[in-house]
């Protein structure tokens, strides 16, 4: 019975199973009669399928079935839907080309699925897949966002490969402000395409029972209910009540496991045809080709300032590469989650952003950790730092001059920030980073042949996604609430059911802390269950740093109902008026007396209702709640990065990184720190090592971990991190969310540091040794 579970560094409840090899990931599930799927994937970026011959494969050892696009079409299997409708500048809906689960007549990116083989063993499925003869008529391909409009058309409905042109902000006001600006800073850059690479590859194991005409789908997913909804309502036309989706332990997601993927659909459909379970697990090579990628913007950005450094306006033009098809949330990432963040932490009065989203012969692009907000932060923070250097104003000082200080604050790009204190995080970050001592460190580095640089990034993000009505008015085709259920057992222990899936975030611990604290129980008395549509009433899933702010609040609302009902029961047991009952740390008390009932006694009475107001109250103690937020939350923070560049080789090391974040109230600081460490490392990865590359014909050059470099332990330093707190004003826990912050703020901080070290204005990401060496030779 501790009173300090909120804010405590409670060791994680989930760790034991992971540390002993007893976790259960999708590929660990083996079902009676198991079969295995292997997909034939296009080696061409763009081609007509003249024929697909499956005869030899069908006769190969162990093969049970082979299916191609026409088989799925004949069975009326629908295409994969997009969950967000963007309306373009002319008021027209975005172009939504069909996204078939298996290619129909044409392939549009390397790795697109052409056929599937299902066999008794995974090896037999692979062997047989090689026997499928596909006659491709190769077509010219277009790969880069910049070239898309001029390239060969991928889809008939979008002859110029444009999905939409969308804009936000007051263009006239912005143009006017630029006309009278004392200084304009302009940058042109690419926000590099990234490949998520959760260490657990995607996996699905679908089964069908003729006994009750029902499906069970194990899948490595961040949101099993959304997977089920999309699959049943839009693709397979199945009754939702006949489909159970289980996302068991999931080995990281970072966005890439939000979406409904074609492999999930094909395996589920095939399980019904064969009445046997069908399993597919991506190998890493397939993951590179077929997981949704992230980022990939080409941007021209300008900041107008007055002579004192006050920001007057910002103008941004971005071309966003959506890849060959619209993935589940692809359309809202470079728009709703990007342009709305361009105010950053500043009072810039006028902002205009125009986004052209294009199709190319590459893998689909969708949300990857941060999703739009890292791209926005990169625009704002690279512009601000560059402006400071150009105007010879201290970079921190320029930021302070423009910080938002009055809350709530309505930005010119739709969002209304409820609270924040940007000065506080910047002050703390500068102190921890010892900014004052930087000059000395720079000299010491020089003596060792290293160029040292320092850069800031002061980011903001919109999390706690999202008020459903706001999202709906912007084109969302789903609600964005969350659901929670509290089941109090007769003996007074509690099971919590949450729609927020965890795949590394530690919900089983964090949510248990909230519940145990509120009910006055020990953490051991609270169990958190997630990830199974047969157990959880509903869930919108885990993305956009929404779990604690939205999912946690749903749980708190359910807890409030439990306590309210408990008071009624306690009033009866204590023969007191309900209004006189107080609840505190596990005890119901009659105010001003020593009469009390423990939580466990009340729970027992609810399930053994012998002395119970049955005429007025149902027995049992089980409550659920749905919570739809009234606003986004706005985590923000200040990062300071120091790098050292090897003058001879260009090799760049992050030698110090300080992050001070404001996530509102913290439930488990240990877990929060872990989230920040991971986010920072992915952000550093984007800046230094990670860059997806296709060649001109659409072949993926970075198709394995031997070419695509995700950071290793030796690529990052020990992080110096701290937090400051301005509690969120519109949820009961005062929480904002912390999952994406590091990945949002880090790239700009790192690139600001490297450009400082080199004395150059701009440098492409990733700043690999070769890229830095080239920049030094140009400089």
């Amino acid at each position: 019975m501790t009173s300090s579970l909120i804010g405590a560094r409670v060791p994680r409840k989930e760790d034991y199973r992971f540390l002993t090899g007893s976790g259960l990931y999708t590929d660990d599930v083996a079902l009676p009669g198991q079969t295995y799927a292997a997909f034939v994937r296009s080696p061409h970026a763009h081609a007509v399928l003249r024929s697909v011959k499956t005869d030899k494969a069908k006769k190969a050892p162990g093969v049970i079935a082979v299916y191609t696009g026409p088989d799925l079409a004949a069975a009326k299997v629908g295409g994969l839907p997009c969950g967000w409708l963007i309306t373009d500048v002319k008021g027209q809906p975005m172009k939504e080309p069909p996204f078939p689960a298996l290619a129909q007549g044409k392939v549009r990116h390397v790795g697109e699925r052409v056929a599937v083989v299902i066999a008794e063993s995974a090896a037999q499925a692979r062997d047989a897949a090689e026997l499928i003869e596909v006659d491709y008529q190769a077509l010219p391909a277009v790969v880069s966002a910049a070239q898309a409009k001029k390239g060969p058309a991928l889809h008939d409905i979008a002859p110029d490969n444009t999905c939409y042109v969308w804009a936000l902000g007051d263009k006239a006001a912005v143009d006017g402000a630029f006309a009278k600006a004392a200084h304009v800073t302009k940058l042109e850059f690419v926000n590099n395409r990234l490949i998520p690479n959760a260490i657990e590859p995607r996996s699905v194991n679908a089964s069908y029972s003729r006994a009750d005409d029902s499906y069970t789908v194990y899948v490595a997913s961040q949101n099993p209910h959304v997977e089920r909804l999309l699959m049943t309502a839009f693709v397979l036309g199945l009754p939702e009540n006949k489909v159970r989706v289980v996302a068991p332990d999931v080995g990281g997601g970072f966005g890439s496991k939000i979406y409904l993927y074609a492999e999930d659909v094909v395996c589920t459909w095939a399980a019904r045809q064969l009445a046997r379970p069908v399993k597919w697990t991506a190998d890493r090579s397939e993951a590179f080709l077929s997981d949704a990628h992230g980022r990939d913007h080409v941007t021209v950005a300008e900041l107008a300032l007055d002579k004192d450094g006050k920001f007057l306006a910002m103008r941004v033009r971005t071309t966003a590469n959506l890849g060959a098809y619209l993935s589940t949330f692809a359309s809202c990432i470079p728009t709703i989650l990007y342009a709305t963040l361009l105010a950053g932490q500043y009072t810039t009065p006028a902002i205009y952003c125009e986004v052209t989203a294009v199709f190319t012969n590459t893998a689909p692009v969708d949300a990857y950790r941060g999703a739009g907000r890292p791209e926005a932060t990169y625009v704002v923070e690279r512009l601000v730092e560059t402006a400071a250097r150009e105007m010879k104003i201290d970079a921190a000082q320029l930021r302070r001059k423009n910080f938002i200080r009055q809350f709530p604050y309505q930005t010119p790009v739709a969002l209304c920030y409820d609270t924040g204190n940007y000065e506080a995080t910047l002050d703390a970050a500068m102190k921890i980073a010892d900014v004052a001592g930087f000059k000395d460190r720079r000299e010491q580095s020089l003596r060792r042949g290293k160029l040292r640089g320092m850069g800031y990034a002061c980011y903001i993000e919109a999390c706690g996604i999202a008020p459903s009505n706001v999202a709906g008015s912007l084109g969302a085709r789903a609600g964005l609430f969350e659901a929670g259920e509290i089941r109090v057992h007769p003996t007074g222990t509690v099971t919590v059911f949450t729609g927020s899936h965890a795949h590394g975030q530690g919900h089983e611990t964090t949510f248990a802390q909230v519940v145990a604290e509120r009910l006055g129980l020990s953490i051991e008395q609270v169990e958190v269950v997630h990830g199974d549509t047969s157990k959880i009433l509903f869930g919108m899933g885990t993305y956009g740093s929404r779990s604690i702010a939205v999912g946690g609040t749903a749980i708190v609302k359910a807890l409030d109902k439990i306590v309210a009902k408990g008071k009624k029961i306690a009033a009866h047991l204590l023969e007191a008026a309900e209004a006189d009952i107080e609840y505190d740390k596990g005890v119901f008390k009659v105010a001003g007396t020593d009469k009390k009932k423990a939580f466990g006694e009340v729970a027992f009475a609810a399930y053994v209702p012998h002395n119970y107001p049955l005429d007025k109250l149902e027995p049992g103690l089980n409550e659920n709640a749905f919570y739809d937020p009234t606003n986004f939350t706005f985590p923000a923070g200040s990062y300071v990065c120091e790098v050292e560049v090897d003058r001879e080789t260009g090799d760049t090391q992050v030698v110090a990184f300080t992050a001070v974040d404001d996530f509102g109230k913290l439930i488990n600081p240990m877990i929060v720190e872990g989230q920040v460490h991971g986010g920072l490392t992915q952000g550093i990865g984007q800046a230094l090592t990670e860059g997806c590359a296709y060649d001109e014909t659409g072949q993926l050059i970075t198709g394995s971990l031997t070419d695509y470099c995700i950071p290793r332990a030796s690529d990052v330093p020990m992080f110096k991190i701290d937090t400051r707190e301005t509690p969120c004003t519109h949820n009961p826990l005062g929480v904002k969310g912390c999952g994406e912050a590091g990945a949002i703020g880090a790239p700009a901080a790192v690139m600001n540091a490297i450009t400082d070290a080199l004395g150059v204005k701009d440098l492409p990401m990733p700043a690999t040794a070769q890229n830095v060496w080239r920049a030094m030779h140009r400089a």
């Binding site: 060791p11 994680r12 989930e14 760790d15 034991y16 199973r17 992971f18 540390l19 002993t20 090899g21 007893s22 976790g23 259960l24 990931y25 590929d27 660990d28 083996a30 090896a123 690479n197 959760a198 260490i199 657990e200 590859p201 332990d249 999931v250 080995g251 990281g252 970072f254 697990t281 190998d283 890493r284 090579s285 795949h503 590394g504 975030q505 530690g506 240990m670 877990i671 720190e673 872990g674 920040v676 460490h677 991971g678 986010g679 920072l680 490392t681 992915q682 394995s704 971990l705 031997t706 995700i710 950071p711 290793r712 332990a713 030796s714 990052v716 020990m718 992080f719 590091g742």
Partner: protein, 159 residues
């Protein structure tokens, strides 16, 4: 084309008829159903499949099971004490929040166990270098490094 393979896994003799092309990791996961050893890549970068072969950490995705004929294999399932108590290295990962999604964790622990045998009090630098063959996408390594430093010291102290 099947062939018989025999070895000792977590102290127990095991044998099975397998296809010759069966990787050691496939044998461990599919034949023995010891699914704590994971597969995260196909080019030997990620290290999620790390096990011990005759006391040394190796990547079980990078050898065929027949190469382990007669060998002593230790997997993550064989690390904790018989009563379920965590090994000091496992305990250090828990105490230091050295894991998040848990997928790379078995490989991290197996590699760390072997490393700690020869490094009873490793520096941060040594630990980072020892992780050249293990990728984690969640933790940013910060707490893994702390875990291994603490775990190695705990192992040395418990000798």
């Amino acid at each position: 084309m099947s062939v018989k393979v025999s070895m000792k896994v977590n102290g127990k003799p095991v044998s099975a008829d397998i296809e010759e092309r069966t990787l050691l990791v496939t044998f461990i996961r599919e034949n023995l159903r010891l699914t704590g050893t994971h597969v995260g890549c196909d080019t030997a970068q990620c290290g999620a499949c790390t096990v011990h072969l005759n006391g040394k950490s190796i990547k079980s995705c990078s050898i065929v099971a027949m190469q382990a004929e007669g060998a002593d294999i230790l997997t993550i399932e064989g690390v904790a004490h018989a009563d379920g108590t965590l090994h000091p290295m496992q305990a250090a990962f828990k105490e230091n929040h050295g894991l998040q999604c848990g997928f790379c964790t078995p490989g991290m622990v197996m590699n760390a166990l072997d490393f700690a045998k020869s490094h009873p009090n490793p520096s941060e630098q040594e630990v980072r270098e020892s992780l050249e063959g293990n990728l984690c996408r969640c933790t940013g390594y910060h707490n893994i490094v702390k875990s291994i430093m603490a775990g190695a010291r705990a192992m040395a102290a418990s000798k």
